[in-house]
């Protein structure tokens, strides 16, 4: 199509030499760029990687073909574990969701064309521990064997490892449209798998636009299929307050968009339980003391510069409004909500936010300026005390505190070393945070913000914002969080989150925005940058697996957008950027 102009432009803009990745040395991940500009022609023969997304750490396969019975028996004590037995019901369905007319027919040339006499009829599930506690340190590893005999075994330390094993097993099943039958090609399989990063999340903003409980559950389902394990729930923001508090019901009564746009305690419990059954932790974010207009509709005295007009100068985006950090009622309300959330959200992480505070909002609030005079402190001291008190209150609930990077890098608050810092402003922040010795979760907006690239949600035309570009799947996939870090610093990365902020996303387009880009993100977090043999994982290989995985997501009911045009979906190898494109 009309890309003629582009080729020459892009060619000029991008260095064409294939950058060979440097193996990580013991000393440092020394690549100066966080991403390789262009990756070479696939190093690996496309059919030599199995269609499993994300790619397992260790896998071996043979060349026999095993028929799959539609009524598989799941055996072993593990199969009767409540979370597992529910998952089995789901996977008995998902395993057979295949396309009659696939855009990417499975390449059967790698496997014996005549299926073995036996068929997969039994899956033995073996769990080492009965404990179904889910946390960052939960062991998610599993092994899966599918012998030629047809008796598959999933072994795992915890139920959550079993869930990942079931997902992998479901992806091994391929449909042979001409025979109208299901097979597992390339048996025997031996897979031994574990995640490279413990914290693998998606942030969803349900304040700027509302999502129903069912829509959130569908997202959590999709996370689990991609072996993501954290749902970071950015529930509150300036735009709406959908949480129905037991103690302060007036907050939602006045701050939610409508009485229907709310989350009750019952909704939250349902979502948390739903997520747990899929191995997904739910981490709530209590956005405060910035981005807090919506609190002020229900309890006006706890807000400063509430919906100040004109808004600019008081906030980075409308509407204006922050918590009044000097008012005693504010802490009371915040602590009260923390108390409620600490119960509703059993996870040991709690996000205390702290981003994008605008000082002018407080400086123009006479309540605050009077208070500062009376108590003889500076605004920054008041701010720091408020934040640290809030975080202490969270810690008293035995929670690990997560905050946005400004707390450390912009305000330089005296945060305890156990605080987990979420980096978002840019990939440089990872170095800054880890060099100070803090643990980090990476959400660098120049790679892993999935909501960007669509202009400003304002009415007026405005020049494009620098750095707020669209992160396409390849860029998402290829970002190396460890760039410029020492080994010790890189070890402080707990994981990462891709974000879906809500300005320009709602249930109509969120699935297209998220998938399959979030799947690309998911593989990087699960499979890492190299496999255990030290071989690098690159997008030029991944595309061969991501294309069928995207199709699988669509079959499972997710509106995941296409990665490319159909010819390239069919023929990925014909659609690479040539190393030396013609002028």
């Amino acid at each position: 199509m009309h890309a003629g102009l582009s080729l020459s432009l892009c060619v000029a803009a991008v260095a064409l030499t294939t950058v060979t990745a440097q193996a990580p040395s013991a000393e440092a991940y020394s690549s100066s760029l966080p991403i390789q500009k262009i990756q070479g022609i696939p190093a690996v023969n496309p059919v030599s990687q199995p269609w499993i997304w994300p790619l397992p750490q260790n896998w071996e396969r043979g060349s026999n073909t095993l028929k799959v019975s539609k009524s598989i028996r799941f055996e072993g004590k593990g199969a009767r574990q409540p979370i597992v037995s529910k998952a089995i019901k789901r996977y008995q369905n998902l395993m057979f969701k295949k396309e009659d007319y696939p855009m990417i027919p499975y390449n059967w040339s790698t496997t014996d064309n005549t299926p073995s006499r036996s068929s997969l009829s039994t899956v033995v599930i073996d769990i080492k521990t009965n404990d179904d506690h889910l946390d960052m340190d939960t062991d998610e590893s599993y092994t899966l064997t599918v012998p030629v005999s047809g008796k598959a075994v999933i072994q795992a330390e915890t139920v959550y490892g079993v869930l990942h094993g079931l997902e992998t097993l479901s992806q091994l099943v391929q449909y042979y449209p001409e025979r109208k039958s299901y097979y597992i090609p390339n048996t025997p399989w031996k897979i031994s798998d574990f995640p490279q990063y413990k914290h693998r999340g998606i942030l969803l903003d349900t304040s700027r636009h509302y999502y129903t409980v069912q829509e959130i559950e569908k997202l959590i389902d999709t996370l689990s299929w991609n072996k993501l394990n954290v749902f970071h729930w950015h529930m509150l923001d300036s735009t709406s307050f959908p949480y129905v508090s037991k103690k302060y019901p007036e907050l939602a009564a006045h701050g939610a968009y409508t009485p229907r746009h709310v989350y009750t305690a019952k909704d939250i419990k349902q979502i948390v339980q739903f997520a747990k059954e899929r191995g997904v932790r739910v981490i709530p974010e209590m956005e405060a003391p910035g981005h807090s207009t919506s609190w002020g509709y229900g309890i006006p005295e706890i807000a400063s510069c509430l919906n100040a007009q004109p808004y600019f100068g008081y906030t980075v985006q409308p509407p204006a409004g922050q918590l009044n950090i000097a008012h005693p009622k504010t802490k009371e309300v915040v602590f009260g909500l923390i108390d409620e959330w600490a119960e509703l959200f059993p996870d040991s992480f709690f996000h205390a936010a702290g981003d994008e505070v605008v000082m002018k909002c407080w400086e123009n609030d006479t309540y605050i300026t009077n208070h500062l005079q009376k108590t003889n402190q500076t605004l920054m001291q008041l701010f720091e005390n408020f934040v640290l008190d809030m975080e202490d209150h969270v810690r008293q609930k035995n929670k690990t505190v997560m905050v946005w990077q400004e707390m450390l890098l912009e305000y330089h608050f005296n945060l305890p070393k156990d605080t987990v810092i979420q980096v978002w402003v840019g990939s440089d922040g990872v170095k800054e945070v880890t060099s100070k010795g803090y643990k980090t979760i990476v959400s660098a907006q120049n790679f892993w913000y999935l909501d960007l690239g669509f202009g400003r949600p304002r009415s007026n035309p405005y020049p494009e914002v620098q750095g707020a570009g669209f992160n396409h799947w390849n860029r998402v996939y290829s970002y190396d969080m460890r760039a410029n870090l020492t080994k010790a610093e890189a070890d402080l990365i707990l994981g990462a989150e891709a974000t879906m902020w809500g300005e320009l996303a709602d249930p109509n387009n969120v699935e297209d925005r998220l998938w399959p880009r979030a799947a690309a993100f998911a593989e990087r977090l699960w499979s890492g940058y190299e496999n255990p043999k030290g071989e690098e994982l690159i997008s030029a290989d991944a595309i061969y697996r991501l294309l069928p995985w995207r199709e699988q997501l669509v079959l499972r009911g997710v509106r995941a957008g296409p990665l490319n045009q159909g010819f390239c979906t069919r023929n990925p190898g014909d659609c690479f950027q040539p190393p030396n494109p013609a002028k």
Binding site: S6, V14, S459, N471, S478, P578, A582
Partner: protein, 674 residues
């Protein structure tokens, strides 16, 4: 104040330039959120301040012999009005609420809308330039002269008069297509009372005079790069009708796939399929081998028919479609064309050639060339897969004729798009049969020489189109990038300009009608990154157009009034590389709605609201602030009709009109905050 009593807006002007850096807007929230938020905005309207209830027995009064298309249309709109529970999330401005007189609600009912169409029986065929105007009144009968003449005095007068039994609704149009637009407007005027579900129309009495600025208002969808289901296409037609679009440009065949199912052509069958015995001479050509003669041969209305060999045209889809499910049958196409025409939408097909033709090669490898895969595709094509038709092979023309004979009659419109974009001469220069012929004929292997070859191809292709009764549309390259005699000699060819305003000017100055749609503004597929498998940092070759940017494009920029007349209109274009059934709606809507309004009534008001020209540098300024509330509402209205249009702002902004505007254009709030 846009909707203040008897404000008459005459939307005739178009304003350019997204980045009106010099303009300041008032930081005050404007009075906004109007129930009668019609999209696209009518050309002229005046409204009062009384709410009238719509009777549950409401009906459209049609003439006895009204055209079935209108009868069905009216039934459709009645269903939509009475099945909808849509309530706009955009609230009325306080001033509007205060001004509104609801005392008659529940007492005075609007029982009917009389639909009066001059061309009652629907003789006028739907086509370019058909009269699409309508006049809609909900007012006192006696105030309305036959023409519903609209002036400030009348508006003032009718608004003051007390209610009475003479209050009625009348819709007048020259054609049924104008009437359908009027019905769409009427349906948008009717709102649900959120408390009791009754139907109301606010701000009556009202008078609307409406007609489009441009006769060609299109949406392009590309069904070759990724397949779009018939359901997706039908849904797009529904959405287009809500936006008063009137052309569906169906880019149906391109390189990646050939999704039209054709019949095999048996020898001698061609005429039957063509449906017209255009009596051309028969050019005797060999079934195989190079046709060396065609470049110079004088051919007047030659037609390849009697000598046609068997052509297995069914193989084009059998081998060139993505699967036998991912195809369109002739029946599906004709049903679809009827469905679109029932909604006042013309369907113009484009089978792209001679470039962008890899998909033909699966059935007919001999008529295509440079099918090289990776990595050489990049020498021959802007994107994979590469493949062009071979212009010197006689069979090429037999196949094209065979395809046209079967495809063109499915589309009732007088226009057909001939494609002709991005023809790559490297490709032909690397094709032995082409270069051998050029050498023999002493045609230099340079641009001039290849233009000659392309000219021969184009001449022949356009002859086929004309013989099928179609007026050709082509992309801009044949005129602006090549020197083709056949284009120069045929000034009735319509040129679709997809690049710059500069090229629009060049085209109209050479005397051609032009369809606009700049890639910088109206390409709805741009901005989602490069999709080549290994290009980690690859960006889209063109940037994302926000709705504001799309809205700011002026197809008439820099043209004088005579030149402006050559601009037929424009299209919102959604190419298919990263679009399929999963994300079609959200990629297209509501940004294409911004394009729709520009083409229907422009993007500025003559009477400045004062919001935009604080420095009085422009008399006519973008009405983007006022448009925002209407497009926000329209987005939700489309959603209520099952179009998955995406949000333009956080819901808070939608519910708080005027509170989310950009304060000063050349300063960022982040900077101000510091």
């Amino acid at each position: 104040m846009i909707h203040a009593f008897y404000s008459i807006s005459a939307a005739v002007a178009l304003v350019s330039n997204v980045f009106l850096l010099s303009l300041l807007i008032s930081p005050d929230p404007h009075p906004a959120g109007v129930q009668a938020a019609i999209w696209p905005k009518p050309a002229y309207a005046c409204q009062g301040h009384r709410t009238v209830q719509v009777s549950s027995k409401f009906n459209f009064e049609l003439a006895q012999d009204a055209h079935p298309r209108l009868v069905e249309g009216a039934a459709r709109f009645r269903n939509r009005i009475f099945n909808s529970d849509f309530v706009s999330p955009v609230p009325l401005g306080a001033e509007d609420i205060e001004a509104e007189d609801r005392s008659q609600v529940g007492m005075l009912m609007l029982e009917s809308l009389a639909v009066d169409v001059e061309d009652r029986t629907g003789n006028a065929a739907l086509g370019l330039g058909i009269d699409e105007s309508y006049r809609l009144a909900i007012a006192y009968d006696e105030d309305l002269n036959t023409e519903f003449e609209l002036d400030a005095k009348l508006c003032k007068q009718i608004a003051k008069e007390p209610f009475g039994p003479g209050f009625k609704g009348i819709l007048k149009a020259k054609t049924i297509y104008g009437a359908l637009h009027g019905l769409e407007t009427f349906a948008q005027l009717v709102t649900n009372n959120p408390h009791d579900g009754t139907k109301e129309i606010a701000q009556t009495p009202l008078l609307i005079h409406d007609r489009p600025l441009f006769p060609h208002r299109g949406v392009l969808l590309d069904t070759s790069r990724n397949f779009l289901s018939m359901m997706s296409l039908y849904r797009t037609i529904d959405a287009m009708a809500m936006n008063k679009f009137n052309v569906f440009h169906w880019h149906i065949v391109d390189s990646p796939s050939f999704p039209i199912v054709l019949d095999d052509q048996l020898a001698g069958e061609a005429d039957e399929h063509a449906g017209d015995a255009s009596g051309g001479e028969t050019e005797n050509v060999e079934g195989t081998g190079d046709n060396e003669e065609y470049v110079y041969k004088e051919r007047k209305h030659t037609k390849l028919s009697a000598a046609q060999p068997n052509l297995p045209l069914s193989q084009l889809a059998a081998k060139g479609a993505f699967s036998d499910k991912m195809v369109y049958t002739k029946k599906e196409i004709t049903d679809f064309v009827d469905y679109a025409m029932d909604r006042g939408i013309r369907v113009i097909p484009e089978v792209d050639m001679p470039g962008h033709a890899w998909s033909w090669s699966q059935a007919f490898p001999e008529i295509t060339t440079c099918l090289d895969g990776f990595p050489s595709y990049s020498r021959f094509s802007a994107e994979p897969p590469s493949g062009q038709l071979n212009p010197v092979h006689s069979k090429t023309y037999q196949v094209i004729q065979g395809v046209y004979d079967q495809v063109l009659p499915l589309f009732k419109d007088k226009f057909a798009h001939g494609g002709a974009d991005e023809v790559n001469f490297n490709c032909w220069n690397a094709t032995a049969s082409v270069t051998k012929m050029m050498e023999r004929k002493h045609i230099p292997r340079n641009k001039e020489g290849f233009d000659k070859i392309l000219n021969g191809f184009t001449e022949r292709q356009h002859e086929m189109l004309r013989q099928a009764g179609k007026r050709p549309i082509v992309w801009e390259e044949p005129l602006l990038a090549h020197n083709l005699a056949t284009i120069k000699e045929n000034k009735d060819i319509v040129i679709q300009v997809w690049t710059s305003a500069e090229n629009i000017k060049k085209t109209v100055r050479q005397g051609y009608d032009v369809i606009t749609g700049s890639a910088d503004y109206w390409y709805m597929d741009c901005g989602f990154g490069d999709w080549l498998g290994n290009w980690t940092m690859g960006k889209s070759w063109c940037g994302y157009s926000s709705w504001q940017k799309a809205y700011s494009f002026n197809p008439l920029q820099g043209l004088n009034s005579k030149e402006s007349k050559k601009v037929l209109g424009g299209e919102a274009l959604l190419w298919g590389e990263q679009v399929d059934n999963t994300n079609l709606d959200s990629k297209l809507w509501p940004r294409a709605s911004a394009v729709a309004e520009v083409l229907w009534s422009g993007n500025s008001d003559d009477s400045s609201t004062g919001l935009w020209d604080g420095r009085k540098q422009n008399k006519n300024t973008l009405r983007i602030i006022e448009a925002l509330d209407r497009i926000n509402e329209h987005r939700f209205r489309m959603e209520a009709e099952n179009i998955l249009a995406e949000p333009l702002q956080p819901l808070w902004c939608v519910k708080n009109p005027g509170h989310c505007n950009w304060p000063i254009l050349d300063t960022r709030p982040e900077d101000l905050a510091k």
